[in-house]
Symmetry: C2
Subunit: 187 residues, 2 copies
């Protein structure tokens, strides 16, 4: 069976590098192939705290591929760019219509709101809570929330739990649990 595939979309500037890298690394440890997409192309992305990450694929190429999950990292102004870019919305709607997973962490759930992605309940970084509640979502303060095919989480400090939940959804709880010890992670 071919490895499952995940797409992490990095806005041209201000993706939260911990959320990009913790999520991608843990998924790779779980045997899931990760593409790091550059929304503006394949040039290095300057992240929220100045680290520069090279995309493995340009968004315009990635949007024509199939992914088992599409993931939106937080950080600013990255989250706002994801929320305001129509082609991100097109991809999320395609993903939702296909009954496939969508993940968003930190401030990135504002992109679910702006692009009309439904979820019965979600969470986010507290800084965008009001926006999401006003947008009509039922809000939870759990560290990771799974609602239908939408997985949300709260910030860099919840990124390991977010990533492990995604591994669990795609590869099972046993695989996810097997990653905790070697990383010396305390959950």
């Amino acid at each position: 069976m071919a490895a499952k595939r995940a797409l992490i979309i990095m806005a041209p500037k201000g993706a939260e590098e911990m959320e990009v890298i913790i999520t991608g690394d843990v998924l790779e440890r779980g045997g899931i192939h990760v593409d790091y997409a550059g929304l503006a192309g394949a040039e290095p992305v300057e992240c929220a705290r100045k680290a520069r990450i090279v995309p493995s694929i340009a968004f315009d190429e990635a949007k024509n591929k199939e992914y088992d999950i599409v993931i939106l990292p937080g950080g600013q102004p990255g989250s706002t760019a994801l929320a305001e870019t129509p082609k991100v919305g097109d991809l999320l709607k395609k993903q939702a219509a296909a009954g496939k997973l969508i993940g968003a962490i930190c401030a990135a759930p504002i992109a679910l709101l702006s692009h009309g992605i439904k979820a019965e309940v979600l969470t986010s970084h507290p800084c965008v809570k009001d926006q999401l509640v006003e947008g009509g979502y039922t809000y939870s303060e759990d560290r990771v929330v799974v609602s239908g095919k939408v997985v949300t989480s709260r910030g860099p400090g919840t990124a390991f739990e977010f990533a492990l939940k995604i591994v669990e959804l795609l590869e099972g709880a046993e695989k996810a649990d097997s990653l905790i010890g070697p990383m010396l992670l305390k959950i």
Copy 2:
């Protein structure tokens, strides 16, 4: 007062990207300027789980600058490269002779051993424990160990604690504590 400065050295291949990025990002949040050095130059580094990070500085330029802490991330074959590269040893010895901080996480403490950096007690990823004990170090299984000017830690899952300890040593406990809430970190 000028911002304190940290140097994170990335081997040409196989630095553990979570340890690079969590450490660098948390230090930046703590007001510490971080340089990501490329041991082989300024070209992007392919990390242990395939993410590619662009150095902010080539090692050969960084080695002539002053840093308040020099940090070795783990990952393989990155840690072995750090352990086997004489110019990394030269920099660590210069840092130790100046009474300045050195940090190493995961498998990277093997570079402290190979370059003769003294510490009364240290920790590491369990996979290199035997090597360090045979090398004469007193070994601790604490998640972060500070011994004189040497700070060590155990793996990706302890990287937040490692980074927060470094912020505490350079900027004080109040600054370190102030970072925990906004990251939604559970310590």
